[in-house]
Structures are given as structure tokens and as C-alpha cells.
């Protein structure tokens, strides 16, 4: 629980953080794995080089284990790295990350026995864009963000503001379905604070649904007019594990490489369909978009559709067949014989 690490008396900025009990436990366990040769690499989070940031730590060096942190800014879905890292890997996983890991196992992209999952409870991550808005200042001008279970204290320019935690967590965190990993080899035994606001979590989607098709079309036309086709959304996504992406195929060509809103939209639409049944609503695509396209509105809608149509929740059961790649004869419905 973040509550524990952000005790009012402790130093609270992201850069100089009090080592919480959770971190101590995690470091101990991760260190042991490396030391005993159980794993070749540890993937976790280290403090970032900028305020309120963290950075993925991928290391085989036992000395680096003391850099491992757990805090409300551990954004990346580290499952992304698993298919490309050789050998046995110990990975720190929040609930959503663990779902992506399970999904990769289901899709046979990684083997369960090659992965040691170090599960951590997660009470939600802080969306810095929301904090910036509340503080009226940009990230680097904010002095402190103290997350307690139900409220957050933001200090900027000498002013202190207290807001409910629901106002600063990422939308996807407000609708989180798995705070504590189900699939793990080691789990830090701490409860997670249940901070939920389902309405806010899907607010943007509901607003889009209220629009007429024409309005919605105009909305996405404008959004994808900003797209710079940097593919950060795809690159950061653990579900996007294809060796060859359709967007770069030239024979046949599905999407023009020229960045224009129509093709940008088609790219994202197809990507959304491709990750159906693999997307765990980790929200990374939207977080990393450098031009603020609300990509989660697409992926979450697809996520919900998958739930409604197939009664399927991605990455909840490592033994379940993968939704899109497992078939049974009865499914053919006369189309395929």
C-alpha cells in the first residue's frame, strides 16, 4: 500500500525516496534470485532521471538491485521486455503487468518456466497530466506529490493542495480489475488500497458514445490529424509482439506509410482489433502518446467488448486458452470445415 511508504514524516519526492518495507523485501528477493542463479536478469523499476519518473531497470548486476523502487510512478508495463530478453528472467509485476505476462504465456510468446514473477500489490498509479492540471503547473515545477490512501497532497510553488486520490490516478487505474497479481512466484504480502471511480474511469468513452456518428468521426479525424506515427503506442504495448507489423508490410500494403489522418486512424483501428483479447487495459498506449491522443478510449472499448461477447478477461488464467488463437471444432459454425 502506498500509504505505508508515504508516511507523513518521511521524505516524499520521487527522487529521494524512503525505502519502504515493500522495496526492502523486493530487493532481498530479487537479489537472492540473481545470486543463486535462479534467473539471469531482473526487470524492475529504478528512479528516473526527472522528477516523479521511474525508468525500467533490466539488469544482471547484483549491485543494481538496490536501485529497485516501488512507488506511484512505476508506469511501464514491463511484460513488454520479456519476449526479447534471453534466459531466465525475474520480473516485478503489478496486477496489470501480471495479466500481460499471463497473456504472453497463453500466446506462447514466453514460457512460464523461464519467468519468475515477483508480484507487488498496486493501489494505482499517479497520472501526472492530472496532477499538472490540478496544480496549474507542469511536472518539473511541482515540488511534491504525497499519496495517501484516500487523498493526495500536491505542493507547488509554496501552495499545498489536498485532493481525493481518485482525482489523480490514471483512468485505467480507477477501473482496475486486478490490483494484486494472481499469477506469481513470489508475492509481497501487503493489501492494496481500493481506490475506484468507475464513472471517471470510462468518462471519455461515455462522452464519445453520446456523440452522433458524425461528431465522433470529426473527433477522431482531428485526433489522428495530430498523430506523428512514432509508433510509441505499439512499441510500449506488451500485446504488440508481432515480429512483423501489418503497418510496415508493403506486399500487400494495408496502410500508407504517409502520415495522414485516415491512415493514422486505420493503423490504430487495426492495432486495437489485433490486441483484442490481449489488451489488459494497462493504459500505456495513451500515457506515452506524445500528442495526447486518447487511445485508451479505443482499447478499453475493445476490452469491454471482448468481455461482453466472449465472457473473457485477459490474463487472468494462465491455463485458459488464448481468446484469439485457440480454436475448437464446434466453433467453426459451418464457415470452416
Amino acid at each position: 500500500m502506498w500509504l505505508k511508504m508515504f508516511e507523513p514524516s518521511g521524505p516524499t519526492t520521487c527522487l529521494v525516496m524512503k525505502v519502504s518495507d515493500m522495496e526492502k523485501e523486493l530487493r532481498q528477493e530479487a537479489g537472492k534470485l540473481l545470486e543463486e542463479g535462479t534467473v539471469d536478469y531482473i526487470i524492475g523499476f529504478a528512479p528516473g532521471s526527472l522528477k516523479f519518473t521511474t525508468t525500467p531497470l533490466i539488469t544482471e548486476d547484483i549491485d543494481e538491485i538496490n536501485n529497485l523502487v516501488i512507488n506511484p510512478f512505476i508506469n511501464n508495463n514491463l511484460a513488454k521486455y520479456l519476449p526479447e530478453i534471453p534466459g531466465r528472467v525475474g520480473i516485478i509485476a503489478k496486477g496489470c503487468d501480471s495479466r500481460s505476462i499471463v497473456s504472453l504465456i497463453q500466446d506462447k510468446q514466453i514460457a512460464r518456466q523461464d519467468i519468475v514473477i515477483l508480484g507487488i500489490p498496486c493501489s494505482g498509479l499517479v497520472d501526472l497530466k492530472k496532477v499538472e492540471k490540478l496544480a496549474g503547473k507542469e511536472r518539473d515545477k511541482i515540488d511534491d506529490i504525497v499519496v495517501l490512501a484516500d487523498k493526495v497532497c500536491i505542493t507547488a510553488g509554496g501552495e499545498k493542495k489536498e485532493v481525493p486520490t481518485t482525482e489523480v490516478l490514471f483512468d485505467h487505474c480507477l477501473g482496475c480489475e486486478l490490483q494484486i497479481p494472481k499469477e506469481y512466484d513470489f508475492l509481497i504480502q501487503e493489501p492494496a488500497a481500493e481506490i475506484r471511480d468507475y464513472e471517471s474511469s470510462s468518462k471519455q468513452i461515455q462522452e464519445l458514445k453520446k456523440m452522433s456518428p458524425d461528431q465522433r468521426w470529426a473527433f477522431w479525424k482531428e485526433q489522428f490529424g495530430h498523430c506523428i506515427r512514432c509508433y510509441a503506442c505499439r512499441q510500449v504495448c506488451p500485446a504488440c509482439f508481432c515480429e512483423r507489423c501489418f503497418v510496415e508490410e508493403s506486399q500487400p500494403r494495408w496502410v500508407s506509410p504517409v502520415s495522414q489522418w485516415q491512415d493514422n486512424l486505420i493503423f490504430q483501428a487495426i492495432r486495437t482489433i489485433h490486441v483484442a483479447g490481449r489488451c489488459t487495459d494497462c493504459g500505456e498506449c495513451e500515457r506515452v502518446c506524445p500528442v495526447n491522443i486518447p487511445l485508451r478510449s479505443l482499447s478499453k472499448e475493445m476490452y469491454d467488448l471482448v468481455g461482453e461477447m466472449f465472457d473473457y478477461k485477459t490474463g487472468m488464467d494462465v491455463n485458459a486458452p488464448a481468446l484469439m488463437t485457440a480454436y475448437e471444432l464446434v466453433e467453426a459454425e459451418g464457415l470452416i470445415r
Partner: protein, 346 residues
Amino acid sequence: MITKKINKKDIRKLLGTWNQECSVIVPTREQGIVEMAGWDNKDISFLDWYRNTVVPPKACFLPQSEVMISFQKKENGLKIEVPQDEHKQIIFGIRPCDARAVAIIDQVFADTYDDYYYSSKRRNTLLIGLSCSNPYDSCFCTSTDVNPTESEDVDLMFMDIGDEYVIEEITSGGKALLNTSSMIKKATKADINKAKEVRAASVDKLKKKVDTKDVDRKLQSCFNDIDYWEQVSAKCISCGICTFLCPTCFCFDINDEMIKKHGARYRGWDSCSFRSYTKMPMENPREEKWRRVRQRVCHKFEFYPMNLGINACTGCGRCIRLCPVNWDITQVIAGLPGEISVHSGK
């Protein structure tokens, strides 16, 4: 040298005067994304909120995508047209780091041959620099020989000293912009002294620093240190943010589009971070991620100095603050193995 000044209240009028003669491009903000775009002839609120753009000003000369030629299939062959764009524009508010970046890619596009598409836009553009006194924590321009309040890479340089901007006239083109304006006053000795103070204070605000001395030599010696490059590239996700939004990255890709009888040849940004880079003509020689990461660092800090005698990084910090995984080029530069190490194999 500071010679002139203008009251902040008069900026709208000044831009308005220019806007009658040519298009005025200023920092604009749309859903949190700041880029250089056409001025609406009234809003100058950017003077208060603008720190730097997300999309660098290079996009004014090398747009994300542009038509090189358009063509039409006719009975007797192809009708080909090259777009002619000679319209004049003024970019107001470019920061010294980005102005230096433009000066750097100017050299590239005029190197072995004159790139028509780039230079037709560039030669019709005047750059008005705006001093920077509110850097991000990711900015490190003073480490790359850029002063946040000075620039020789613009036509006019404006510096904020409170209620007024003092102005340096750098080129004759810039000077001519001020000639006709009654709002422009002579800078006094007191103004110049104030500017000195602001300059010192602004430079002092740049807290992020990296020693770039001898970096080219160090990079040369550790080029084959595969362990180092593998280690620093491990967390890179090979997206295009750092290159697309780098003010000096200029790689492009060319594609033909054709629907029925009409088509066009486009060029658009490309990125050496992509695995598919240069796949079209041949193969990507940098299949492994560490090679691509090494390329980006070496291009900025080794190949540029070798070819043009200048670093191709101006410390704008975009690649750091926009990176999805906080890959920080200053850490990679600072961590370069100092000793000459040669790695065999691979």
C-alpha cells in the same frame, strides 16, 4: 549586440504589422500539444505560458509529410508537377536551442546538393528568437554550447527583461523588419544592464549538465564496446519519439501514392530507431536494438563533429522528457567508458 527594445504591450501590434506582409508562425497550443503554427492575428498569451514546443520548429521546413511531386496519368504519358512554395513566413518565438538546431540541419540540406523542398521554405523564412528563462528539468543546453538567452542563429533575438523585450539585430533581414516600426525604441544602458542580469540568472537555471568534452573521441574508442551498448539500450522500446521530436534529426522516407490516375510522391519523417529503417532499398544494417541506439548517439556526438565540426545535439531535452521509458542521453554520454576498450566478436 542589444540595440533596440519593445514594450510587451506592443508585441501584438508588431506581429500584426508583419502578418500583413507574410505569414507569422508562433507557438500554439492545442490539447496540450505545443507546436509552431499560423498566428490567429490576436492571441499573444503564449508569451506567458510558452516554454518550448513539443514538435520542434524543424517541422516548418521538413514537415512530417509533404508532397514532392504530384502526377497524373494521361494518354500521352505522365503529367508531373512540382509544388512551388515561395511564400514568406516569420517564425516568432524560436528558442536558442531550436535555432541552433535549424542552423545545423541547414548545413545538411545544403551539403552535397541544395534540397529544393527544404531550402525553398528556409530561404523564405525569418527566425525571431525568444530568450528562455524557464527551462525544463530535462534541458541541458548550456552543456552543448547553447546560451538560453543568446543566439546568432536567428535574424532577430528578443530577450525578456520584465515589461520589455530588448532586441539584438543579427541579420540585415531581421533589421529590416524593425525599420518601419514606431514601436521599436532604442535600448538604454539600464536595459542592457538588466539584460546582463537576466542572462546570468537564466543560465543559472540550467541545472542538468553533462560534460560533452571529448565525447566524439570517447565514442570512437567505445564504438565496439558491445556490452556497453547492449546495457544502455536494453530499456529502449525502439519507438520514434526521440528522433521525430529531435530538432536536428532529419531522416526521411519517400513513398509514392496513387489512386486511379492521380498520385503523388511524398516524403515524411523516418527514424533510425525503427527496425524497418532502410528496409525499402535493402536491409537495415542495424537489426539489433543496441546498434540503433548506438547510431543515434554516435550520429549526434561523433559523426557530426567528424563531418561538420559540430555536435548535433542542442540540449533541448525533448528526447528525455518525452521518452516513454526515461532513456536519458545525458546519462549515456556521462557513462561512456573512458578508456579505450575494444570488444572482439559479434
